[in-house]
Symmetry: C2
Subunit: 287 residues, 2 copies
Protein backbone atom coordinates (compact mmCIF):
# COMPACT_ATOMS: atom_id res chain seq x y z
CA UNK A 1 0.00 0.00 0.00
CA UNK A 2 1.56 3.28 -1.07
CA UNK A 3 1.25 6.34 1.06
CA UNK A 4 2.10 9.88 0.20
CA UNK A 5 5.05 11.48 1.89
CA UNK A 6 4.63 14.90 3.44
CA UNK A 7 4.51 17.83 1.01
CA UNK A 8 1.05 16.90 -0.26
CA UNK A 9 -2.37 18.29 0.49
CA UNK A 10 -4.88 15.45 0.51
CA UNK A 11 -8.65 15.72 0.53
CA UNK A 12 -10.30 12.49 1.57
CA UNK A 13 -13.84 12.07 0.25
CA UNK A 14 -14.88 9.91 3.14
CA UNK A 15 -18.27 8.78 1.89
CA UNK A 16 -16.95 8.10 -1.59
CA UNK A 17 -13.90 6.02 -0.69
CA UNK A 18 -11.63 8.20 -2.81
CA UNK A 19 -9.02 10.88 -2.15
CA UNK A 20 -7.31 13.52 -4.25
CA UNK A 21 -3.93 15.06 -3.53
CA UNK A 22 -1.92 17.99 -4.82
CA UNK A 23 1.80 18.42 -4.33
CA UNK A 24 2.44 21.51 -2.25
CA UNK A 25 5.26 24.02 -2.34
CA UNK A 26 4.18 25.90 0.78
CA UNK A 27 1.23 26.99 2.84
CA UNK A 28 0.63 30.68 2.17
CA UNK A 29 -2.20 31.43 4.59
CA UNK A 30 -4.28 29.84 7.34
CA UNK A 31 -7.16 31.74 8.90
CA UNK A 32 -10.48 31.02 10.55
CA UNK A 33 -13.36 33.30 9.70
CA UNK A 34 -16.64 33.49 11.55
CA UNK A 35 -17.90 30.75 9.24
CA UNK A 36 -15.09 28.48 8.15
CA UNK A 37 -11.41 27.56 8.09
CA UNK A 38 -9.63 28.89 5.02
CA UNK A 39 -6.21 27.69 3.88
CA UNK A 40 -4.20 28.85 0.87
CA UNK A 41 -1.39 26.73 -0.56
CA UNK A 42 1.03 27.17 -3.40
CA UNK A 43 1.05 23.90 -5.38
CA UNK A 44 3.76 22.47 -7.62
CA UNK A 45 1.61 22.23 -10.76
CA UNK A 46 -1.87 23.72 -10.20
CA UNK A 47 -0.92 27.23 -9.05
CA UNK A 48 -2.49 28.53 -5.86
CA UNK A 49 -5.06 26.38 -4.07
CA UNK A 50 -7.87 27.47 -1.75
CA UNK A 51 -9.12 24.96 0.81
CA UNK A 52 -12.18 25.57 2.99
CA UNK A 53 -12.83 23.31 5.96
CA UNK A 54 -10.47 20.73 4.43
CA UNK A 55 -12.21 20.70 1.03
CA UNK A 56 -10.53 21.84 -2.18
CA UNK A 57 -12.42 24.90 -3.44
CA UNK A 58 -10.34 25.90 -6.45
CA UNK A 59 -6.92 26.07 -8.02
CA UNK A 60 -5.56 28.67 -10.39
CA UNK A 61 -4.98 26.07 -13.10
CA UNK A 62 -8.36 24.46 -13.56
CA UNK A 63 -11.02 26.79 -12.06
CA UNK A 64 -11.85 28.10 -15.55
CA UNK A 65 -13.81 24.92 -16.26
CA UNK A 66 -16.16 25.42 -13.32
CA UNK A 67 -16.55 29.18 -13.55
CA UNK A 68 -17.21 29.20 -17.28
CA UNK A 69 -19.75 26.37 -17.06
CA UNK A 70 -21.56 27.93 -14.12
CA UNK A 71 -21.99 31.13 -16.09
CA UNK A 72 -22.09 31.02 -19.87
CA UNK A 73 -24.68 28.26 -20.49
CA UNK A 74 -27.19 30.11 -18.27
CA UNK A 75 -26.42 33.54 -19.70
CA UNK A 76 -26.61 32.33 -23.30
CA UNK A 77 -29.87 30.49 -22.54
CA UNK A 78 -31.51 33.62 -21.16
CA UNK A 79 -32.80 35.88 -23.94
CA UNK A 80 -31.23 39.08 -22.59
CA UNK A 81 -29.66 38.85 -19.13
CA UNK A 82 -29.23 42.31 -17.66
CA UNK A 83 -29.30 41.70 -13.92
CA UNK A 84 -27.37 38.67 -12.65
CA UNK A 85 -26.90 37.59 -9.04
CA UNK A 86 -24.26 35.15 -7.80
CA UNK A 87 -25.10 33.54 -4.48
CA UNK A 88 -21.83 32.42 -2.91
CA UNK A 89 -18.98 32.62 -5.39
CA UNK A 90 -16.77 34.54 -2.97
CA UNK A 91 -13.67 33.85 -5.05
CA UNK A 92 -15.13 36.25 -7.68
CA UNK A 93 -14.44 33.83 -10.56
CA UNK A 94 -18.09 33.48 -11.50
CA UNK A 95 -18.63 37.23 -11.23
CA UNK A 96 -15.72 37.76 -13.61
CA UNK A 97 -17.31 35.44 -16.20
CA UNK A 98 -20.70 37.16 -15.79
CA UNK A 99 -19.15 40.57 -16.43
CA UNK A 100 -17.69 39.36 -19.73
CA UNK A 101 -21.22 39.64 -21.16
CA UNK A 102 -21.58 43.22 -22.44
CA UNK A 103 -25.37 43.07 -22.06
CA UNK A 104 -25.15 42.62 -18.29
CA UNK A 105 -25.95 45.95 -16.64
CA UNK A 106 -25.82 44.96 -12.98
CA UNK A 107 -24.14 42.00 -11.29
CA UNK A 108 -24.26 41.10 -7.61
CA UNK A 109 -22.07 38.76 -5.62
CA UNK A 110 -23.81 37.76 -2.38
CA UNK A 111 -21.22 35.87 -0.31
CA UNK A 112 -21.65 35.02 3.34
CA UNK A 113 -17.94 35.06 4.14
CA UNK A 114 -16.05 38.23 3.26
CA UNK A 115 -12.73 36.53 4.08
CA UNK A 116 -13.11 34.29 1.01
CA UNK A 117 -13.15 37.37 -1.19
CA UNK A 118 -10.25 39.00 0.65
CA UNK A 119 -8.22 35.81 0.18
CA UNK A 120 -9.16 35.68 -3.51
CA UNK A 121 -8.07 39.29 -4.01
CA UNK A 122 -4.70 38.43 -2.52
CA UNK A 123 -4.02 34.93 -3.85
CA UNK A 124 -6.20 34.67 -6.98
CA UNK A 125 -5.91 38.20 -8.42
CA UNK A 126 -6.87 37.05 -11.90
CA UNK A 127 -10.32 35.98 -10.66
CA UNK A 128 -10.81 39.42 -9.12
CA UNK A 129 -9.67 41.37 -12.15
CA UNK A 130 -13.20 42.61 -12.87
CA UNK A 131 -14.07 43.56 -9.30
CA UNK A 132 -13.65 47.26 -10.10
CA UNK A 133 -16.13 47.03 -12.97
CA UNK A 134 -18.81 49.68 -12.24
CA UNK A 135 -21.49 47.02 -12.87
CA UNK A 136 -20.14 44.85 -10.01
CA UNK A 137 -21.85 44.97 -6.61
CA UNK A 138 -20.84 43.11 -3.47
CA UNK A 139 -22.91 42.12 -0.48
CA UNK A 140 -21.39 40.12 2.32
CA UNK A 141 -24.11 38.32 4.21
CA UNK A 142 -26.58 35.46 4.15
CA UNK A 143 -27.63 34.62 0.59
CA UNK A 144 -30.76 32.82 1.77
CA UNK A 145 -32.01 35.90 3.61
CA UNK A 146 -30.90 38.22 0.79
CA UNK A 147 -32.97 36.20 -1.67
CA UNK A 148 -36.04 36.29 0.60
CA UNK A 149 -35.80 40.09 0.85
CA UNK A 150 -35.08 40.95 -2.78
CA UNK A 151 -37.62 42.84 -4.92
CA UNK A 152 -39.81 40.22 -6.64
CA UNK A 153 -39.39 39.86 -10.39
CA UNK A 154 -36.15 41.82 -10.45
CA UNK A 155 -33.44 39.34 -11.50
CA UNK A 156 -32.70 37.70 -14.85
CA UNK A 157 -30.21 35.00 -13.82
CA UNK A 158 -29.41 33.60 -10.37
CA UNK A 159 -26.19 31.57 -10.11
CA UNK A 160 -25.83 29.51 -6.94
CA UNK A 161 -22.08 29.02 -6.67
CA UNK A 162 -21.93 27.37 -3.28
CA UNK A 163 -19.92 24.85 -1.32
CA UNK A 164 -21.29 21.32 -0.86
CA UNK A 165 -24.79 20.90 0.61
CA UNK A 166 -23.55 20.57 4.17
CA UNK A 167 -22.84 23.36 6.66
CA UNK A 168 -23.43 26.97 5.57
CA UNK A 169 -24.60 25.95 2.06
CA UNK A 170 -27.21 23.40 3.14
CA UNK A 171 -30.08 25.89 2.95
CA UNK A 172 -29.15 26.69 -0.66
CA UNK A 173 -30.20 23.17 -1.67
CA UNK A 174 -33.79 23.45 -0.46
CA UNK A 175 -37.32 24.07 -1.76
CA UNK A 176 -37.80 27.22 0.31
CA UNK A 177 -34.73 28.83 -1.20
CA UNK A 178 -35.77 27.82 -4.72
CA UNK A 179 -39.25 29.31 -4.12
CA UNK A 180 -37.63 32.62 -3.22
CA UNK A 181 -35.47 32.38 -6.33
CA UNK A 182 -38.59 31.79 -8.39
CA UNK A 183 -40.19 34.92 -6.91
CA UNK A 184 -37.03 36.96 -7.43
CA UNK A 185 -36.72 36.06 -11.12
CA UNK A 186 -38.25 38.14 -13.89
CA UNK A 187 -40.28 36.47 -16.60
CA UNK A 188 -37.92 34.23 -18.58
CA UNK A 189 -35.47 34.10 -15.70
CA UNK A 190 -33.01 31.29 -15.11
CA UNK A 191 -31.61 29.69 -11.98
CA UNK A 192 -28.40 27.66 -12.11
CA UNK A 193 -26.78 25.79 -9.27
CA UNK A 194 -23.61 23.73 -8.88
CA UNK A 195 -24.91 20.19 -8.36
CA UNK A 196 -21.96 17.92 -7.54
CA UNK A 197 -20.68 14.83 -9.39
CA UNK A 198 -22.74 13.04 -12.06
CA UNK A 199 -21.10 9.72 -11.20
CA UNK A 200 -21.44 10.00 -7.44
CA UNK A 201 -24.56 12.08 -6.93
CA UNK A 202 -27.05 11.52 -9.75
CA UNK A 203 -29.30 9.33 -7.63
CA UNK A 204 -28.99 11.51 -4.53
CA UNK A 205 -28.13 15.22 -4.63
CA UNK A 206 -28.82 15.84 -8.33
CA UNK A 207 -32.13 13.99 -8.15
CA UNK A 208 -33.15 15.98 -5.04
CA UNK A 209 -32.18 19.24 -6.71
CA UNK A 210 -34.42 18.35 -9.67
CA UNK A 211 -37.32 17.39 -7.41
CA UNK A 212 -36.98 20.45 -5.19
CA UNK A 213 -36.66 22.86 -8.10
CA UNK A 214 -39.81 21.36 -9.62
CA UNK A 215 -41.65 21.63 -6.31
CA UNK A 216 -40.69 25.30 -6.25
CA UNK A 217 -42.38 25.79 -9.62
CA UNK A 218 -39.51 25.43 -12.08
CA UNK A 219 -41.03 23.30 -14.84
CA UNK A 220 -37.82 22.96 -16.79
CA UNK A 221 -34.74 21.51 -15.11
CA UNK A 222 -31.60 20.29 -16.89
CA UNK A 223 -28.20 19.17 -15.58
CA UNK A 224 -25.03 19.95 -17.54
CA UNK A 225 -21.95 17.84 -16.71
CA UNK A 226 -18.45 19.23 -17.17
CA UNK A 227 -14.89 18.26 -16.22
CA UNK A 228 -13.48 19.65 -12.97
CA UNK A 229 -10.26 17.80 -12.07
CA UNK A 230 -9.85 18.91 -8.46
CA UNK A 231 -13.36 17.92 -7.37
CA UNK A 232 -14.38 14.33 -6.51
CA UNK A 233 -14.29 12.10 -9.66
CA UNK A 234 -13.00 15.07 -11.71
CA UNK A 235 -16.52 15.37 -13.12
CA UNK A 236 -18.98 17.97 -11.92
CA UNK A 237 -22.30 19.49 -12.93
CA UNK A 238 -24.46 22.60 -13.07
CA UNK A 239 -28.24 22.29 -12.91
CA UNK A 240 -30.26 24.94 -14.73
CA UNK A 241 -33.92 25.66 -14.07
CA UNK A 242 -36.55 27.91 -15.60
CA UNK A 243 -40.28 28.44 -15.28
CA UNK A 244 -41.17 27.58 -18.86
CA UNK A 245 -38.26 28.40 -21.11
CA UNK A 246 -36.81 25.21 -22.62
CA UNK A 247 -33.23 24.83 -21.45
CA UNK A 248 -31.99 22.84 -24.42
CA UNK A 249 -32.31 25.89 -26.67
CA UNK A 250 -29.86 28.73 -26.34
CA UNK A 251 -28.59 31.74 -28.27
CA UNK A 252 -26.22 29.63 -30.37
CA UNK A 253 -25.31 32.39 -32.78
CA UNK A 254 -24.45 34.77 -29.94
CA UNK A 255 -22.41 32.03 -28.25
CA UNK A 256 -20.61 31.39 -31.54
CA UNK A 257 -19.77 35.08 -31.86
CA UNK A 258 -19.13 35.79 -28.18
CA UNK A 259 -17.14 39.04 -27.89
CA UNK A 260 -14.85 37.63 -25.17
CA UNK A 261 -12.26 34.92 -24.63
CA UNK A 262 -12.92 31.68 -22.78
CA UNK A 263 -10.66 28.71 -22.14
CA UNK A 264 -13.25 25.91 -22.22
CA UNK A 265 -16.71 27.21 -23.15
CA UNK A 266 -17.88 27.64 -26.71
CA UNK A 267 -21.10 26.99 -28.59
CA UNK A 268 -20.26 23.34 -29.26
CA UNK A 269 -19.19 22.71 -25.67
CA UNK A 270 -22.52 24.20 -24.52
CA UNK A 271 -24.48 21.99 -26.89
CA UNK A 272 -22.39 18.99 -25.81
CA UNK A 273 -22.96 19.64 -22.10
CA UNK A 274 -26.72 19.40 -22.72
CA UNK A 275 -26.30 15.72 -23.63
CA UNK A 276 -27.56 13.44 -20.87
CA UNK A 277 -25.51 10.27 -20.20
CA UNK A 278 -27.56 7.09 -20.35
CA UNK A 279 -27.17 6.28 -16.64
CA UNK A 280 -28.37 9.76 -15.67
CA UNK A 281 -31.58 9.27 -17.65
CA UNK A 282 -32.21 6.22 -15.47
CA UNK A 283 -31.11 7.84 -12.21
CA UNK A 284 -33.21 10.96 -12.81
CA UNK A 285 -36.22 9.09 -14.24
CA UNK A 286 -35.98 10.95 -17.54
CA UNK A 287 -37.45 9.76 -20.86
CA UNK B 1 -0.79 18.50 5.84
CA UNK B 2 -3.12 15.53 5.79
CA UNK B 3 -1.87 12.09 4.98
CA UNK B 4 -3.86 9.00 4.26
CA UNK B 5 -3.80 6.18 6.75
CA UNK B 6 -3.13 2.67 5.54
CA UNK B 7 -6.02 0.94 3.79
CA UNK B 8 -5.73 3.12 0.68
CA UNK B 9 -4.21 2.48 -2.72
CA UNK B 10 -2.57 5.67 -3.95
CA UNK B 11 -1.30 6.41 -7.43
CA UNK B 12 1.03 9.36 -7.51
CA UNK B 13 1.21 11.11 -10.88
CA UNK B 14 4.74 12.28 -10.33
CA UNK B 15 5.10 14.63 -13.27
CA UNK B 16 1.68 16.13 -12.71
CA UNK B 17 1.96 16.89 -9.00
CA UNK B 18 -1.32 15.11 -8.27
CA UNK B 19 -2.34 11.81 -6.72
CA UNK B 20 -5.51 9.75 -6.64
CA UNK B 21 -6.45 7.23 -3.96
CA UNK B 22 -9.08 4.54 -3.53
CA UNK B 23 -10.05 3.01 -0.21
CA UNK B 24 -9.19 -0.67 -0.23
CA UNK B 25 -10.91 -3.62 1.39
CA UNK B 26 -8.21 -6.13 0.51
CA UNK B 27 -5.59 -7.08 -2.03
CA UNK B 28 -6.94 -10.00 -4.07
CA UNK B 29 -3.98 -10.79 -6.29
CA UNK B 30 -0.35 -9.81 -6.91
CA UNK B 31 1.58 -11.33 -9.78
CA UNK B 32 4.41 -10.41 -12.10
CA UNK B 33 4.07 -11.41 -15.73
CA UNK B 34 6.86 -11.39 -18.28
CA UNK B 35 5.92 -7.79 -19.02
CA UNK B 36 4.55 -6.09 -15.94
CA UNK B 37 3.43 -6.21 -12.32
CA UNK B 38 -0.31 -6.76 -11.95
CA UNK B 39 -2.23 -6.17 -8.72
CA UNK B 40 -5.93 -6.64 -8.08
CA UNK B 41 -7.67 -4.95 -5.16
CA UNK B 42 -11.18 -4.96 -3.83
CA UNK B 43 -12.13 -1.32 -3.12
CA UNK B 44 -14.74 0.06 -0.74
CA UNK B 45 -16.75 1.96 -3.36
CA UNK B 46 -15.41 1.32 -6.88
CA UNK B 47 -15.60 -2.49 -7.01
CA UNK B 48 -12.52 -4.38 -8.09
CA UNK B 49 -9.45 -2.44 -9.19
CA UNK B 50 -6.66 -3.52 -11.54
CA UNK B 51 -3.27 -1.86 -11.13
CA UNK B 52 -0.38 -2.39 -13.57
CA UNK B 53 3.10 -1.28 -12.58
CA UNK B 54 1.56 0.96 -9.93
CA UNK B 55 -0.89 2.66 -12.33
CA UNK B 56 -4.66 2.38 -12.02
CA UNK B 57 -5.93 0.57 -15.12
CA UNK B 58 -9.61 0.20 -14.36
CA UNK B 59 -12.28 -0.26 -11.73
CA UNK B 60 -15.56 -2.09 -12.02
CA UNK B 61 -17.51 1.06 -11.24
CA UNK B 62 -16.33 3.54 -13.83
CA UNK B 63 -14.65 1.61 -16.69
CA UNK B 64 -17.84 1.90 -18.76
CA UNK B 65 -16.97 5.51 -19.56
CA UNK B 66 -13.63 4.61 -21.12
CA UNK B 67 -14.68 1.42 -22.88
CA UNK B 68 -17.81 2.92 -24.41
CA UNK B 69 -15.99 6.04 -25.61
CA UNK B 70 -13.11 4.05 -27.09
CA UNK B 71 -15.56 1.99 -29.12
CA UNK B 72 -18.90 3.48 -30.10
CA UNK B 73 -17.83 6.83 -31.59
CA UNK B 74 -15.43 5.04 -33.96
CA UNK B 75 -17.88 2.27 -34.86
CA UNK B 76 -20.74 4.71 -35.49
CA UNK B 77 -18.44 6.92 -37.56
CA UNK B 78 -17.44 4.04 -39.83
CA UNK B 79 -20.07 3.34 -42.48
CA UNK B 80 -20.23 -0.40 -41.88
CA UNK B 81 -17.62 -1.85 -39.53
CA UNK B 82 -17.33 -5.60 -40.03
CA UNK B 83 -13.78 -6.37 -38.93
CA UNK B 84 -12.53 -4.62 -35.80
CA UNK B 85 -9.16 -5.06 -34.10
CA UNK B 86 -8.34 -4.00 -30.55
CA UNK B 87 -4.62 -3.52 -29.89
CA UNK B 88 -4.07 -3.94 -26.17
CA UNK B 89 -7.35 -3.95 -24.28
CA UNK B 90 -6.45 -7.13 -22.39
CA UNK B 91 -9.25 -6.58 -19.87
CA UNK B 92 -11.71 -7.40 -22.69
CA UNK B 93 -13.92 -4.37 -21.92
CA UNK B 94 -13.39 -2.77 -25.31
CA UNK B 95 -13.94 -6.09 -27.06
CA UNK B 96 -17.24 -6.46 -25.23
CA UNK B 97 -18.41 -3.05 -26.47
CA UNK B 98 -17.31 -3.85 -30.04
CA UNK B 99 -19.31 -7.08 -30.02
CA UNK B 100 -22.46 -5.19 -29.08
CA UNK B 101 -22.60 -4.03 -32.72
CA UNK B 102 -24.55 -6.68 -34.64
CA UNK B 103 -22.84 -5.70 -37.91
CA UNK B 104 -19.40 -6.72 -36.62
CA UNK B 105 -18.49 -10.08 -38.13
CA UNK B 106 -15.00 -10.53 -36.74
CA UNK B 107 -13.29 -8.93 -33.75
CA UNK B 108 -9.71 -9.40 -32.62
CA UNK B 109 -8.07 -8.59 -29.32
CA UNK B 110 -4.30 -8.39 -29.71
CA UNK B 111 -2.85 -8.11 -26.21
CA UNK B 112 0.82 -8.55 -25.38
CA UNK B 113 0.22 -9.83 -21.85
CA UNK B 114 -2.05 -12.84 -21.50
CA UNK B 115 -2.03 -12.49 -17.72
CA UNK B 116 -4.08 -9.27 -18.02
CA UNK B 117 -6.86 -11.23 -19.71
CA UNK B 118 -6.63 -14.09 -17.21
CA UNK B 119 -6.94 -11.59 -14.35
CA UNK B 120 -9.90 -9.91 -16.07
CA UNK B 121 -11.67 -13.25 -16.50
CA UNK B 122 -11.28 -13.89 -12.79
CA UNK B 123 -11.82 -10.44 -11.25
CA UNK B 124 -13.82 -8.53 -13.91
CA UNK B 125 -16.12 -11.25 -15.26
CA UNK B 126 -18.62 -8.73 -16.59
CA UNK B 127 -16.02 -7.33 -18.99
CA UNK B 128 -15.34 -10.84 -20.28
CA UNK B 129 -18.97 -11.80 -20.70
CA UNK B 130 -18.70 -11.75 -24.51
CA UNK B 131 -15.43 -13.64 -24.75
CA UNK B 132 -17.24 -16.79 -25.88
CA UNK B 133 -18.91 -14.91 -28.76
CA UNK B 134 -18.00 -16.85 -31.94
CA UNK B 135 -16.95 -13.54 -33.55
CA UNK B 136 -14.28 -12.96 -30.85
CA UNK B 137 -10.65 -13.84 -31.59
CA UNK B 138 -7.71 -13.58 -29.24
CA UNK B 139 -4.04 -13.23 -30.02
CA UNK B 140 -1.53 -12.81 -27.23
CA UNK B 141 1.60 -11.18 -28.56
CA UNK B 142 3.14 -7.95 -29.77
CA UNK B 143 0.54 -5.65 -31.32
CA UNK B 144 3.17 -3.67 -33.18
CA UNK B 145 4.48 -6.76 -34.96
CA UNK B 146 0.94 -8.10 -35.49
CA UNK B 147 -0.03 -4.88 -37.24
CA UNK B 148 3.07 -4.98 -39.47
CA UNK B 149 2.22 -8.54 -40.56
CA UNK B 150 -1.53 -8.21 -41.13
CA UNK B 151 -3.06 -8.50 -44.61
CA UNK B 152 -3.16 -4.97 -46.06
CA UNK B 153 -6.59 -3.39 -46.49
CA UNK B 154 -8.30 -5.96 -44.28
CA UNK B 155 -9.55 -4.05 -41.21
CA UNK B 156 -12.39 -1.57 -40.79
CA UNK B 157 -11.64 -0.16 -37.33
CA UNK B 158 -8.45 -0.34 -35.25
CA UNK B 159 -8.81 0.55 -31.57
CA UNK B 160 -5.55 1.16 -29.72
CA UNK B 161 -6.49 0.53 -26.11
CA UNK B 162 -3.07 0.76 -24.54
CA UNK B 163 -1.36 1.81 -21.35
CA UNK B 164 0.46 5.15 -21.19
CA UNK B 165 3.11 5.90 -23.83
CA UNK B 166 5.97 4.59 -21.72
CA UNK B 167 7.26 1.01 -21.45
CA UNK B 168 5.53 -1.67 -23.56
CA UNK B 169 3.06 0.80 -25.12
CA UNK B 170 5.61 3.38 -26.28
CA UNK B 171 5.79 1.95 -29.81
CA UNK B 172 2.00 2.30 -30.14
CA UNK B 173 2.37 6.09 -30.08
CA UNK B 174 4.65 6.32 -33.12
CA UNK B 175 4.54 7.16 -36.82
CA UNK B 176 5.77 3.70 -37.89
CA UNK B 177 2.91 2.00 -36.07
CA UNK B 178 0.37 4.44 -37.50
CA UNK B 179 1.74 3.78 -41.02
CA UNK B 180 1.13 0.08 -40.54
CA UNK B 181 -2.37 0.84 -39.27
CA UNK B 182 -2.97 2.93 -42.38
CA UNK B 183 -1.89 -0.01 -44.57
CA UNK B 184 -4.01 -2.46 -42.59
CA UNK B 185 -7.20 -0.41 -42.90
CA UNK B 186 -9.71 -0.88 -45.69
CA UNK B 187 -11.01 2.11 -47.63
CA UNK B 188 -13.03 4.23 -45.18
CA UNK B 189 -11.24 2.67 -42.21
CA UNK B 190 -10.85 4.36 -38.85
CA UNK B 191 -8.11 4.30 -36.24
CA UNK B 192 -8.83 5.34 -32.66
CA UNK B 193 -6.35 5.58 -29.81
CA UNK B 194 -6.59 6.46 -26.14
CA UNK B 195 -4.75 9.78 -25.90
CA UNK B 196 -4.46 10.75 -22.24
CA UNK B 197 -5.77 13.87 -20.44
CA UNK B 198 -7.00 16.97 -22.29
CA UNK B 199 -5.94 19.22 -19.43
CA UNK B 200 -2.50 17.70 -18.90
CA UNK B 201 -1.48 16.46 -22.33
CA UNK B 202 -3.00 18.62 -25.07
CA UNK B 203 0.26 20.40 -25.78
CA UNK B 204 2.37 17.26 -25.52
CA UNK B 205 1.02 13.74 -26.11
CA UNK B 206 -2.23 14.70 -27.86
CA UNK B 207 -0.42 17.14 -30.12
CA UNK B 208 2.22 14.51 -30.98
CA UNK B 209 -0.47 11.93 -31.70
CA UNK B 210 -2.11 14.37 -34.13
CA UNK B 211 1.20 15.16 -35.83
CA UNK B 212 2.28 11.52 -36.07
CA UNK B 213 -1.09 10.34 -37.38
CA UNK B 214 -0.95 13.05 -40.05
CA UNK B 215 2.61 12.10 -40.97
CA UNK B 216 1.36 8.53 -41.42
CA UNK B 217 -1.20 9.73 -43.95
CA UNK B 218 -4.33 10.20 -41.84
CA UNK B 219 -5.73 13.49 -43.13
CA UNK B 220 -8.54 13.66 -40.60
CA UNK B 221 -7.72 13.57 -36.88
CA UNK B 222 -10.10 14.49 -34.07
CA UNK B 223 -9.82 14.16 -30.29
CA UNK B 224 -12.90 13.34 -28.21
CA UNK B 225 -12.69 14.14 -24.47
CA UNK B 226 -14.69 12.14 -21.92
CA UNK B 227 -14.83 11.75 -18.13
CA UNK B 228 -12.77 8.96 -16.56
CA UNK B 229 -12.62 9.47 -12.78
CA UNK B 230 -9.79 7.07 -11.92
CA UNK B 231 -7.31 8.48 -14.46
CA UNK B 232 -5.27 11.65 -13.85
CA UNK B 233 -7.54 14.76 -13.75
CA UNK B 234 -10.61 12.51 -14.18
CA UNK B 235 -10.73 13.66 -17.79
CA UNK B 236 -9.45 11.53 -20.65
CA UNK B 237 -9.59 11.39 -24.43
CA UNK B 238 -9.76 9.21 -27.53
CA UNK B 239 -8.21 10.40 -30.78
CA UNK B 240 -9.83 9.18 -34.01
CA UNK B 241 -8.13 9.25 -37.40
CA UNK B 242 -9.18 8.46 -40.95
CA UNK B 243 -7.73 8.84 -44.42
CA UNK B 244 -10.41 11.14 -45.79
CA UNK B 245 -13.67 10.47 -44.04
CA UNK B 246 -14.72 13.49 -41.96
CA UNK B 247 -14.81 12.47 -38.30
CA UNK B 248 -17.39 15.01 -37.20
CA UNK B 249 -20.11 13.17 -39.14
CA UNK B 250 -21.40 9.87 -37.88
CA UNK B 251 -24.36 7.53 -38.29
CA UNK B 252 -26.54 9.58 -35.93
CA UNK B 253 -29.75 7.73 -36.69
CA UNK B 254 -28.11 4.35 -36.06
CA UNK B 255 -26.60 5.66 -32.82
CA UNK B 256 -30.01 6.96 -31.80
CA UNK B 257 -31.55 3.54 -32.43
CA UNK B 258 -28.65 1.41 -31.21
CA UNK B 259 -29.91 -2.10 -30.49
CA UNK B 260 -27.91 -2.43 -27.26
CA UNK B 261 -27.62 -0.86 -23.84
CA UNK B 262 -24.89 1.56 -22.80
CA UNK B 263 -24.35 3.41 -19.54
CA UNK B 264 -22.78 6.62 -20.88
CA UNK B 265 -22.76 6.67 -24.69
CA UNK B 266 -25.65 7.87 -26.80
CA UNK B 267 -26.05 9.97 -29.91
CA UNK B 268 -26.01 13.28 -28.01
CA UNK B 269 -22.98 12.26 -25.93
CA UNK B 270 -21.17 11.37 -29.18
CA UNK B 271 -22.04 14.72 -30.75
CA UNK B 272 -21.02 16.46 -27.52
CA UNK B 273 -17.65 14.70 -27.35
CA UNK B 274 -16.84 16.11 -30.79
CA UNK B 275 -16.85 19.65 -29.32
CA UNK B 276 -13.33 21.02 -28.96
CA UNK B 277 -12.62 23.09 -25.82
CA UNK B 278 -11.20 26.54 -26.55
CA UNK B 279 -7.80 25.82 -24.99
CA UNK B 280 -7.40 22.67 -27.08
CA UNK B 281 -7.93 24.65 -30.28
CA UNK B 282 -4.96 26.76 -29.21
CA UNK B 283 -2.83 23.85 -27.99
CA UNK B 284 -3.45 21.82 -31.15
CA UNK B 285 -3.18 24.79 -33.54
CA UNK B 286 -6.74 24.24 -34.81
CA UNK B 287 -8.89 26.88 -36.55
Amino acid sequence: MNNLPSGWFTEEFQNEGTAFSLKIKEKLHDEKSEYQHIEIYSTETFGNLMVIDGCVMLTERDNFLYHEMMTHPALFTHANPEKVVVIGGGDCGTLKEVLKHPGVKEAWQVEIDELVTRMAERYFPDLCSSNQDPRANFFFGDGIKWMSDVVPGSIDVIIVDSTDPVGPAEGLFAVDFYRNCMLALKEGGILVQQSESPLLHSKTIIKSVHQDMKKAGFDQVHTLPFPQPVYPTGWWSATMASKQKPLTCFREEDAQQKPFVTQYYNKDIHRGALAVPEFMKVDLDLD
